[in-house]
């Protein structure tokens, strides 16, 4: 504690240099926070995936599934609940404003209470033409509860031949981290009664609930059951789906690489700053040594001097990243479904660890130099 004034004086000696160090570390850790935070979100989603939920889709996209498949799946031993869902893709107003609706049956809300809050599911159960949406979607469409809007679907004809789907918003619910991105939920019966007779009873997805231990085997059993039927299926447990990540892009690897490059870039800067500030003060350090300061004490002084702007910068960087992450949904093109990064405790932990690594790496060379310092030469300013 008694050396605090000494450290403070060293930091104030070149305020601009200290400021720049602080700011550049802040920038590096903002990037770090966003990148590792994105990883944290993906991890979170994977952790929160329900091992007991089985998603069954048509093996071939265009064929869809007949409603009867749901009942067959429901009769399998081990399946506790099942529900059907179908989606409608389209746009609102201009083709650029792409959106879509999940039309769900009465049971879906019970299987996915974490995707559609139960009280919201109730709202559409009693009013067929009503939909509920999350905050993200409401912001994109600039809608509030009670508003009416029309989704135009180039693909899905209604029974009357039009492609217009007029909907009324019965409720808006808060975004759920597990299912990021805009989402609109409607009543399956409305969809079914709207499409031409030939299309009625076609669904996109059957979701069922089973024991977590049994579900992978049950998913396989469902696929086997329909493998030779006219409607082959593709079933996976939710855990399996969420562990696949985003297509071909290894998001975890990429984000870690970028975070690392940012850190290395800043390491060079801080190392330079420390080296320079030590070199400029060699005489002073020699004086301190003469006064009886041990090498370890000098080491501690230099590390502390470096640590203050670095740790502060790392902390501020993560806080800034957290703020930026909250702004991201409004910057990203809508409907992409990349989840916003979350600053979990793990992110803070890794940031702290990396900041410590940064401090050590940037102080090590100056410290080595200092420990070999020739006091006499330094005092005579020839060092």
């Amino acid at each position: 504690m008694k050396y605090l004034p000494l450290i403070w004086a060293a930091l104030r000696r070149k305020p601009i240099r200290t400021g720049v160090t602080f700011l550049s570390v802040t920038v590096a850790f903002t990037l770090f926070g966003l990148m590792i935070g994105l990883n944290a979100t993906l991890d979170y989603m994977q952790r929160k995936a329900h091992a007991d939920r089985i998603w069954t889709l048509a093996r071939f996209e265009t064929t869809g599934l007949p409603l009867s498949i749901a009942h067959q799946i429901g009769r399998l031993p081990g399946i506790k609940k099942y529900s059907v869902m179908t989606y409608l893709n389209g746009y609102v107003g201009d083709p650029k404003n792409r959106t879509g609706v999940l039309f769900i049956d009465d049971e879906y809300g019970n299987i996915f209470p974490d995707q559609v809050p139960p009280e919201q599911a109730d709202l559409i159960r009693h009013d067929r033409s009503a939909v509920v949406m999350n905050r993200a979607e409401a912001q994109i469409l600039h809608k509030k509860v009670g508003d009416r809007f029309t989704i135009i679907s180039p693909q899905a004809n209604r029974a009357d031949g039009s492609k217009n789907w007029p909907l009324r918003i019965a409720g808006i619910f808060e975004d759920i981290p597990q299912f990021p991105g805009p989402i609109i939920v409607g009543n399956y019966l409305f969809y079914k009664d709207s499409v031409p007779l030939a299309e009625q009873g076609k669904i996109n997805e059957v979701d069922s609930l089973a024991d977590p231990e049994q579900s992978p085997a049950l998913a396989e059993r469902i696929d086997k059951l329909f493998a030779n039927s006219g409607n082959p299926t593709r079933s996976q447990t939710e855990t399996q789906i969420f562990s696949q990540g985003f297509g071909d892009i290894n998001a975890g690897m990429l984000t870690r690489k970028i975070a690392l490059i940012g850190l290395l870039m800043i390491l060079l800067l801080t190392a330079n700053v420390v080296a320079r500030s030590v070199r400029e003060r060699l005489t002073e350090f020699a004086t301190l040594k003469t006064m009886g300061f041990s090498d370890t004490r000098l080491l501690a002084l230099i590390v502390a001097e470096t640590a203050i702007p670095c740790l502060l910068g790392a902390f501020c960087g993560i806080i800034l990243a957290r703020w930026l992450a909250l702004q991201l949904p409004s910057v990203m093109p809508p409907g992409t479904g990349i989840p916003p990064p979350t600053m979990s405790l793990a992110v803070f932990f890794w940031a702290g660890l990396c900041a410590c690594g940064l401090i050590l790496a940037s102080t090590i060379l100056p410290i080595l130099r200092l420990s070999r310092l020739d006091i006499a030469a330094a005092l005579s300013r020839y060092a």
Binding site: V27, R59, F60, Q155, G230, G262, M265, L268, L269, N272
Partner: protein, 388 residues
């Protein structure tokens, strides 16, 4: 002495003394190398994709999709409409009198990946009668073409690197059974990453009753506005008509836009970091060379040339670093095979991107070097000379 000459002399002097400031200069060089290295290697993916799209298909072709569609997969052209479009006046005719217009279908097929046995998606697209005539680059490289009306497919040459069972003779699981791959084709464009089958046969197997899009050739190059008007204003049709290159540009720009937000976001943050590095280095440089600068000023050099020299030095180092980063990105990624979704293409680091790297370097060095140069310009000569 004119200003340009003064600047040149000081800059030259600065660069001669550079070896005394190796480590500090390295902060700028390495920083900028990181920025443009990251920027260019990520942009190489979207650039490669966009170029692949732009070079795809016959530039003389038109594409007709359902109104409001922004992707082929989300478009649906019903049969009755397709018939009207194909026979519309203004569509070119083959020597035998049949229209050069080909309704096509596209979907994803689940196929095992070679790498880990997981399921990936292969693009399955189709040719009708006019298909080959509308794709001038199309030729069979192994086996034979599928026979119309039979359960046969031909595969693009890119598929076998990524997916299992994509060789001639292998079988592909379709809804109504196993379809053999009877040949391998090449077009030299995006189609090389797809399976190809006969339109009507595939539609039947997929139990689908509408096409995704129609590729057509116009009878003469200047007919487009009229043809477009005739098709889009026909009350029986609900379609959009575009030139194929325009459509490709739009589709690829759409999907690139999403990645660009991420890429530029990351690069800007890195760039700000590099800017601080540049600022710090130049600030220190001004400080160490205070006496030098003061001597120059005393000799009669103006403050503007001195300030310029600082910014020029920063720019020189930045551009150098940036080019290193760009070269690294170019050697690592240019020409390597990439995929985005189900599209196969070569990653591209284009000359324009090198220009961009230089531009970023100049921007960063100007922003980072501005304040230090101001400081150099405002140095009081007497004070600086007196300081030890």
């Amino acid at each position: 002495m004119n200003i340009v000459r003064q600047i040149a002399i000081i800059v030259l002097m600065n660069f001669r003394t550079l070896r005394h400031r190796v480590w500090q200069s390295l902060v700028i060089i390495a920083g900028m190398a990181c920025v443009s290295g990251v920027l260019l290697s990520m942009l190489a993916v979207t650039e490669g994709m966009q170029q692949a799209y732009q070079n795809s298909g016959d530039p003389r072709s038109l594409i007709i999709v359902s109104r409001g569609s922004v992707q082929e997969e989300n478009s649906a052209v019903p049969r009755d409409q397709a018939r009207i479009i194909v026979n519309a006046p203004g569509i070119a005719r083959a020597p035998d009198g049949s229209p050069l217009a080909d309704p096509g279908f596209v979907t994803g097929l689940p196929v095992q990946l070679k790498q880990n046995g997981a399921t990936g998606w292969v693009k399955l697209t189709t040719f009708g009668k006019a298909g080959i005539a509308l794709h001038p680059g199309f030729h069979i490289v192994a086996g034979r073409m599928f026979r119309p009306g039979t359960h046969e497919l031909v595969a693009g040459p890119q598929l076998r690197a990524k997916f299992a069972g994509m060789e001639v003779g292998d079988k592909v699981t379709m809804p109504d059974g196993q379809w053999p791959i009877v040949g391998m084709f090449a077009t030299g464009d995006l189609l090389d990453g797809a399976l190809l089958g006969d339109t009507e046969t595939v539609l039947q197997a997929m139990r689908h009753n509408s096409y995704n899009s129609i590729i057509a050739r116009q009878a003469s190059p200047d007919i487009f506005p009229g043809l477009r008007k005739a098709l889009t204003q026909n009350p029986l049709l609900t379609v959009d008509v575009m030139r194929l290159p325009d459509w490709n540009r739009r589709v690829s720009a759409d999907s690139a836009a999403f990645y660009h937000v991420l890429i530029y976001g990351v690069s800007i943050i890195l760039g700000i970091g590099a800017m601080f590095g540049c600022f710090n280095t130049m600030y220190d440089a001004v400080e160490t060379r205070a006496r030098e600068i003061a001597t120059l000023r005393a000799l009669g050099y103006g403050s503007f040339p001195v300030a310029c020299s600082i910014i020029l030095e920063a720019s020189g180092l930045s551009v150098f670093g940036s080019l290193i980063g760009a070269l690294i990105a170019w050697t690592l990624y240019d020409g390597t095979q990439g995929t985005l979704g189900w599209d196969f293409f070569r990653l591209t680091v284009s000359p324009a991107m090198f220009g961009m790297a230089i531009f970023w370097a100049l921007a960063v060095s100007f922003l980072g070097g501005f304040l230090p140069s101001l400081r150099a310009a405002r140095l009081t000569v007497t004070d600086a000379l007196r300081a030890s």
